[in-house]
């Protein structure tokens, strides 16, 4: 490996790493505020990229149908629940959140498809269409299980991924897509050339990371989210409604997923199931960070990007094996690092209906 190649690989790694950072931040955000390990998060990233690609090809993105289906189910579940609890006066609000707001961008995308959309129109439409996916999934799949153990929530998340990736194939077909580049600029920094696309990706990761930080530090809602992560009982005792913070977390994370998808679309060819792998690699990054700390997550995600980049140079066929296999020694190291601390791991909730 010559130094030039090493630098090139590093640049590549940092670019993909920056995308993993955004995805991993979303994963950690959801996990800390809801205890859900949101496995289908990567699928949402994939949906974002493929939605933009479909719009650029003047097709109706299948995401429209996904959002409509989810919105319909969520609305029915919510309205039924409200009626049963005799809270009919909250139905108009439910219709706004679960029907009107998600359907509006989907309808826009439906109508806009077929026109030659400029980039500045395609990206916001994509963003708005993808945004409701995670909150709606939360309402349908996770909120009814708010008291379940992390494990049950994880299994539900995996099942949701199963359904979501299946639908992605139905909507987008098996062929791969690559969206038009956001910028074609190139810059020379000393001896090396840096693509504008890479700079855009890294800058976006930095900006959104910073915005997230400010949200947590400066706003009451951000603090409520942190409080929920630190102590769920304490949060309830000060009147924080966990289902509201959860919905906020899913919404924010969904925004991160949409942005990541839009950013990664021009970098690699994406298939219906590529999002899942991106999500899992971000997971590896989040796990390196212990699923608890945002700064550590950022470092972990960039490490995964770099590791992947160098692994693909060394043996491109086995790069996935290397990335996922590397999780084992990392976990091993973490388990030894935390050993001798708490012997009693979290008592599993055993309220399950077993006879």
């Amino acid at each position: 490996m010559t130094p030039e190649i090493a630098v090139l690989l590093a640049q590549d790694g940092i670019t993909t790493g920056a995308i993993y950072v955004l995805v991993a931040l979303g994963i950690v955000l959801i996990f800390l505020s809801t205890r859900v390990i949101f496995v289908p998060f990567g699928d949402v990233v994939g949906y974002a990229a493929l939605t933009l690609a479909a719009l650029q090809l003047k097709r109706i993105p299948g995401t429209v149908w996904l959002v409509l289906t989810l919105a319909a189910i969520a609305t029915v579940v919510e309205v039924y629940g409200l009626t049963r609890r005799h809270q009919a006066r909250r139905i108009p609000q439910a219709l706004l959140y679960y029907a009107a707001l998600p359907v509006a961008p989907a309808a826009t995308a439906y109508l806009a498809a077929g026109y030659d959309l400029p980039m500045w129109a395609g990206i916001p439409i994509t963003f708005a269409v993808v945004l409701p996916i995670s909150p709606l999934l939360y309402r349908i799949a996770f909120r009814p299980l708010a008291d379940a153990s992390v494990l049950v929530l994880l299994i539900v998340a995996v099942a949701a991924h199963f359904a979501l990736s299946g639908m992605a194939l139905v909507f987008f077909g098996p062929e791969g897509f690559r969206t038009a580049p956001l910028t074609r600029a190139f810059f020379s920094v000393g001896p090396m050339t840096v693509s504008g696309q890479s700079i855009l990706v890294v800058a976006s990761a930095a900006v959104f990371g910073l915005l997230l930080f400010l949200f947590f530090e400066r706003t009451l809602n951000g603090k409520a989210l942190r409080a929920t992560a630190v102590n769920r009982v304490g949060a309830r005792l000060v009147g924080i409604e966990l289902s509201n913070t959860a919905a906020t977390a899913f919404l924010l994370a969904s925004a991160l997923a949409a942005i990541s998808g839009i950013l990664i679309g021009p970098i690699t060819t994406l298939y219906y199931d590529s999002g899942f792998l991106i999500g899992l690699k971000a997971f590896v990054g989040a796990i390196i960070g212990g699923l608890v700390s945002y700064p550590a997550t950022i470092v972990g995600a960039i490490l995964v990007g770099l590791g992947e980049s160098y692994a693909s140079f060394w043996n491109s066929a086995l790069k996935e094996v290397i990335v996922f296999g590397s999780l084992i020694p990392i976990l091993l190291w973490q388990s030894f690092a935390t050993r001798g601390g708490v012997v009693e791991d979290v008592e599993e909730e055993e309220g399950e209906s077993r006879t």
């Binding site: 009451l220 603090k223 409520a224 942190r226 409080a227 630190v230 102590n231 009982v233 304490g234 949060a235 309830r236 005792l237 000060v238 009147g239 924080i240 409604e241 309220g351």
Partner: protein, 243 residues
């Protein structure tokens, strides 16, 4: 006086195990009512159920509301606050953030919250000194004060206190009880669960003695403090009270 809280035939179970079986109690506005009893009698369970953290059977009314229909968050909004035995602070956040979050349900009244924050800092000068410190780094007594202060930020009308003296040195226990009495003067009604039966009975207006999930004695606190059965079980065994 008006009845603030009225609980009738309350049952709470963990799975098939009943921890509170048929407790009834009443509280007048402006009173301090204490529930004493041995470990495992169901005191903490009772408070958790009143806070809506545990599902329960039975009737409970708070002012004119049917309490059973309200979620925990709704109860906070109506002025019921629990300071739990484990304090449940946001240990990775600063003292100031903990207090600000205490007023989470009052996010519309920014000014009033700021004034209340100053008031809490005035009442607990230790917390003011440590406002930028993480809650987890406070000492036990300071944590208890922070938990109290956080509850006060919600402007409670009914404060549920679970073992506020737990693990605290006698001097700090005295301080805490002094604050509790002071709160009543502000018009806050207090339901106090205590293992330190003597201190609790000296502070309260009315008392209930809980054993294996049932109320076994009840009456004005002064009367209970001199009830020989209560003395035998809870005021230090065969040790004669010094007064």
């Amino acid at each position: 006086m008006t009845t603030l809280l009225s609980v009738e035939d309350l049952h709470v179970s963990y799975g098939k195990m009943e921890a509170v079986s048929g407790v009834s109690l009443d509280m007048q506005a402006g009173q301090i009512v204490t529930v004493i009893g041995p470990n495992g009698a169901g005191k903490t369970t009772l408070l958790s159920a009143l806070m809506g953290l545990l599902p329960c059977k039975g009737r409970s009314r708070y002012e004119s509301d049917d309490l059973t229909a309200l979620s925990t968050e709704e109860r906070v909004r109506r002025g019921i606050c629990l300071v739990p035995e484990r304090r449940e602070l946001f240990s990775d956040m600063t003292v100031a953030d903990n207090l600000i979050l205490g007023a989470y349900t009052r996010w519309r009244e920014r000014r009033a919250v700021q004034a209340d924050l100053d008031e809490v800092f005035r009442r607990f000068p230790k917390l003011a000194e440590r406002r930028r410190q993480l809650a987890g780094t406070l000492s036990g007594g300071e944590q208890q004060m922070l938990a109290l202060g956080r509850a006060l930020m919600a402007k409670p009308r009914l404060l549920l206190l679970d073992e506020p003296s737990l693990g605290l040195a006698p001097l700090i226990v005295r301080e805490i009880f002094r604050i509790v009495v002071g709160l009543r003067e502000l018009g806050v009604s207090i339901l106090l669960v205590e293992q330190n039966a003597r201190a609790a009975l000296e502070t309260a207006d009315f008392g209930y003695v809980l054993e294996t999930g049932c109320v076994v004695h009840s009456g004005p606190a002064a009367g209970l403090a001199h009830d020989p059965r209560v003395i035998a079980s809870y005021l230090g065994g065969k040790v004669e009270p010094s007064s």
